[in-house]
Amino acid sequence: MEWRLLPLRVDDAFMSMAIDEAVLKLNAEGKSPNTIRFWRWLPSAVSIGCFQSVEREVDLGVAKKYGVDVVRRITGGGAVFHDYGGELTYSVVCRQEDVPADIIESYKLICGGLVRGFEQLGLRAEFKPVNDVQVNGKKISGSAQTRRWGSVLQHGTVLISPDVRRMFELLKVSPEKISDKFIAFVFERVTTVERELGRKPSFEDVREAMSRGFEESLGVRLFEGQLTREELEFAAELKSKYSSDKWLRKR
């Protein structure tokens, strides 16, 4: 089977989330092929899970100060700081019948692409249920999935060299936690490609490795394709939802 691979994109948070939903919906309607996309967030942004309360999770004053966008995802899970300079984000959209019906098994299959991608980069990685990939026992990637209209969207992070200190300023962890001691604790739990490799690979190199990883893990061949006019127009429509205060403060 052939799946579409989109070129590396750089979009703002609202457009990125809108593209995910547009491709998911159109895939379910049989109008978009199964698709893999990699992108970066410009400006850097915080995304919150669809069940989270933005006031409880994000310091909106700090976000404003740094010009960081804040967006609610349609997927569950936690708040994530997406650093333009330090994270590659992926999304996979496919028909539900192309992945296992069992949710954890489907995470395992798709995260398996990342595991193989990290191996391509020279790192030994493993899937950690429900939705993480670890290297040396530390989290290096987190994912979130939703299933709608008969299709599956899974998106997630590849941590290359994110600014962890900035992350803790933006996310509402209790003030005493933003200490050197706590940050040292986080460094024991979370790692990055730069830290594990001892060098920072280019975003294109990581994208290339992950693409090969997905091909192997999913057993598909990727062909380079663009977003269609229909997808872009639908995404532009959905973008206003994602940038609205009503959506952001839904919970």
């Binding site: 669809c50 989270q52 409880r56 349609i74 899970g77 979130a144 939703t146």
Partner: protein, 91 residues
């Protein structure tokens, strides 16, 4: 009004609620858990309204919600919601 947080094996459940005559009159659930389908969260909140804020009654309501909705919450069990709610009642 009560508020509490409870860490389930996968995800923190945050509960904000109001009681009237020992029954839940309003409840809002949030957190970093997963629920499929996502819309079921509103069904769970509705299922809890009017329920007596005691362990047994809450557990019945939450279990019925899972049966009726078919919702899935990996590594979050009915007991975890109930524990989070009881903490909010106490807080």
């Amino acid at each position: 009004m009560g508020y509490a947080e409870f860490k389930a094996p996968k995800g923190v459940i945050k509960v904000e609620l109001e009681l009237s005559d020992d029954k839940i009159s309003r409840i809002s659930l949030s957190g970093d858990f997963f629920m499929y389908p996502e819309e079921a969260i509103e069904e769970l909140e509705r299922a809890l309204e009017g329920v007596e804020a005691r362990k047994e009654a809450l557990l019945v309501a939450v279990r019925d919600f899972y049966s009726l909705s078919g919702a899935q919450t990996p590594m979050v069990e009915p007991e975890h919601w109930v524990e989070a709610i009881l903490r909010a009642v106490g807080g």
